[in-house]
Amino acid sequence: MSDPMNSARQGFDPGRRNFLKAAGLLGAGAAASPRVLRALAPAEAQAASVRGEESSVFSACDMCFNRCGLIARVRGGRVTKLDPNPLFTKSRGMLCARGQAGVAQLYDSDRLKTPLLRQGARGEGKWKRISWDEAIALLSAKLEEIGKKYTRCGMLFSAGADMQSAFVNRFAEVYGSFNVTSHESLCLISGNRAFLDTFGEVPFADVLNSRYVIMAGANRFEALVTPDSMDMVEAMKGGAKLVVLDPRFTKTAAMADEWWPIRPGTDMAFMLALCNVIINEKLYDERWVAEKTFGLPELHEHVSAYTPEWAAQETGIPGPEIARIARELAAAAPASLVYPGRRTSDYENSTQIRRSFAIVNALLGNWDKPGGLLAARQVGVKPVPADAPWYDDNPETRVDAHLVPLMFEEEGSFVLTREAVITGEPYPVKGWFVYKTNPMQTAPDRTRTLEMVKAMEFVCVVDIQMSDTAWMADLVLPAPSYLERKDPCQALQGSSACACVVTREPAVPAMFESRPVFDVLKEVAGRLDLAEHFDFTIEEYRAKQLAALNGAADVLARDGVYYNPSKVYGIYDNMGYKTKSAKIELYNQRYITAGLDPLPVYAPPKSPPKEIADSAFRMVVGRSALVTQSSSTNNALLHELVPTNTLWMHPAAAARLGLKDGEMVRVKSPVGEGTQKLHVTAHIREDTVYTETGFGALSKGLSRINGNGLCIAAVLEGKYDSVTGNAAMHETFVSVTKAGGAA
């Protein structure tokens, strides 16, 4: 394996101590050697002097979705270091390991450098370097052709969580396709649905001011969310209590005040039992609940059978402990909460599971209060809508519409769209434009994604690296990394910390032949007679976004972040909730019309199929603070710390199967298999195995993770949340056997 720092070091170190090699033993010419100069200068000044003047550029991190404000230090035309912007309160002025490793992404030898046109079969890896003119002409022609042949909805657009993704969606809209998916339907939409359908909007957790937090289905000290992760530590320092339910002994579990290795898929039972105790013992603020919520009597009746003793059997957590936790939680209310979580793409009933989370919060009366759940604050960044044309020949709606009752129109469902593309029903979708998202790695059931790609006549991927999705594409276009880009503004809320705006200035010019997706789309729009919808520069776009925020642009230039001092608490003091009843809906009326349970009904998690029950495990997936799925695992600096992913298995289970720590195992599910190293550890339940996302890449363009570890997409079944169409990634049972061959 190559020296992980190799690429990142290029140009860092012009051989500062190698003079003797050149000068020989005799010091011939040594008078001018760096060593002599160094010997004559005070030690501290040495490093600085050889590198020249430093400049600092404000940007926002792109190593995950959090967008932490940063300052890029630039010397001699190279980014040497990324520092956190100390004024950026959403991240509490930090950059994590991934943020710090951004330099290695910028200077990664694996970056895409020129437009590439596929030559051999898909996935064969034969590419022809073409010019941008050819690439733009081809992309435009294909968009035109597919639009004509299959209507404009015959194109699918998928953009990742990027500050230029809005331009992809804008392009899709003016081009005329309804078919847009994002990473969200592989991630968070179940939770969003649940809280939106309870409170009328998706809240932020005021972890910092909370006195008691129950965290289930979330791993905040590893899967960092700003400012929640840091605020939780701070709150605990101040005496707040953290109770973690997780089948795995995560770092969050390790630091928590209590850890309960809950049986996977039974979180709802725990939450319903909390409701049972809180209601039966009248531990809630009766006046507040009566005034602000809808459906308490129905809930009361609904949870009457869900006693702690019942929940104990489901969850594996003793009943008296559940009751105690309920009492403690209620005693700390309203400065207490059940943490809503972020990735909720885990179960087929994830929306209802998270509804049970939301309902407990409602009973705590913590809405819009310190230490509770917070409403969205006003940031003031304006959307820049496009006056999209109307295409009469288009079908009525999205290709994945009506398959689940409460899909988010603007996110869709990747899993369901994939099925529609494969079957061609209800109408053909034959072209795919992908920007910085990688469903080949992140969507469960890779075999199906491959079939989807095969069903496509044309796939274009714009990315900074040869992702697995790019590897299967017809046309691959190199994008600059975030450190080379001028980006539009982004509005962010950091819980109670701030409501702010960030943007990006390029720290260095775009490298190689990379072009921002905005430039690409603008040019293509011009060729498709859509120029009027892209007749602006990034600067002009930003000006429109900031039109309502006087002086924000200047503040952004000065501080790298603009804060809107808008109201944090009490936003709802004189306002109804944005629900049908205008109250917090413990009981959701709309669910009845949608054919859904208006209150979350518990169903025990499925058991593994009988024939493999002895060697089957429920597979759960997740990540550490060093991993953002496949976009970070190939990063040289991070790869050194996380060289591969392993399969966590309990020692008792490993002993039963005769498997040893460190050996290679075959992980097999009904849809696929893969091999990886076994990590035998008591940090996981005996009935569950865990692995990390982002490994086992097919792409040979990802030199560090190609064929390294297990790709979760290869083994996870393509199940989905029946309410939103969100992927359901914890519904797969895998069998584990010795792979043969040493680790």
């Binding site: 101590r17 190698n18 003797l20 033993l25 010091g27 002599v36 010997a39 004559l40």
Partner: protein, 250 residues
């Protein structure tokens, strides 16, 4: 009186060049030993490091001097391989009975005087010596071995800075120890050498020969009887000096 050539010009040059570089290497090398271990105490390394703009400059100077020294010796070896071979043969050809006795008696005589020898019944006569007496040989042996050791260990330390991997640092660690020991041993020898050759009035003709190249016959006869016996019949050249003919001295 007949004069006999003891040293060619090249010999003289190499001797004094060697001496000068030795001195400089010793001065700089001593400065590289940190205060805690320095026989001269802390002031010396502090002074030298200050003079060279820091320890790094001093180290570099020492390394350059060492390189020059090795180069000079290599050049000499290349220029005068026969002379070098002669020198080495002479230096390492030890007649145990004769030379050891000479050495012991000489040491006693020079420090304690003739009395102790007489007390144990030994004569104060010294066995005859060849081109080099045993004292010279002993120092030359120490200088050759020590010099070789210093050069080798020095090169290892330089190599450490430009090529050696972390797994080979044990070699460097030992090299430091040995460099120190070799330097100490040769320095001890040097003290005696300098006294005997340059201070002791008895050896004045020998000392002078390190500038002129020749010694008078009586000196040759008295101090290097065996050598004198070999060369006394040879004819002097036009300067009146019997030239060295390496081939004759076998």
């Amino acid at each position: 009186m007949k004069r006999f050539e003891r040293h060619t010009r090249l010999d003289i040059a190499i001797h004094w060049g060697n001496a000068a570089l030795w001195l400089l290497l010793m001065l700089t090398g001593l400065g590289l030993i940190k205060a805690e271990y320095n026989p001269l105490g802390g002031w010396y390394p502090a002074l030298l490091r200050a003079m060279f703009g820091g320890g790094g400059g001093l180290l570099l100077a020492h390394e350059i001097l060492g390189g020059l020294w090795i180069l000079c010796l290599l050049l000499y070896l290349g220029q005068n391989p026969r002379g070098a071979a002669f020198f080495l043969r002479q230096v390492f050809a030890v007649d145990l009975a004769r030379d050891v006795l000479w050495m012991v008696k000489k040491m006693v005589l020079m420090t304690l005087g003739p009395k102790p020898l007489k007390m144990i019944g030994l004569s104060t006569d010294l066995p005859p010596q060849g081109f080099y007496n045993m004292g010279q040989k002993a120092f030359a042996q120490a200088a050759v071995a020590g010099g070789f050791g210093l050069a080798l260990t020095g090169l290892i330390m330089v190599w450490s800075q430009i090529g050696l991997g972390a797994e080979s640092t044990w070699l460097v660690s030992w090299a430091i120890l040995l460099h120190w020991i070799f330097a100490g041993l040769t320095f001890a020898g040097l003290l005696v050498h300098v006294y005997m050759a340059a201070v002791n009035p008895e050896e004045r003709p020998g000392f002078r020969s390190m500038f002129t190249g020749w010694v008078p016959e009586d000196y040759a006869e008295h101090h290097h009887a065996l050598w004198h016996a070999e060369v006394r019949e040879q004819l002097p050249d036009e300067r009146g000096i019997v030239p060295q003919r390496l081939g004759d001295r076998e």
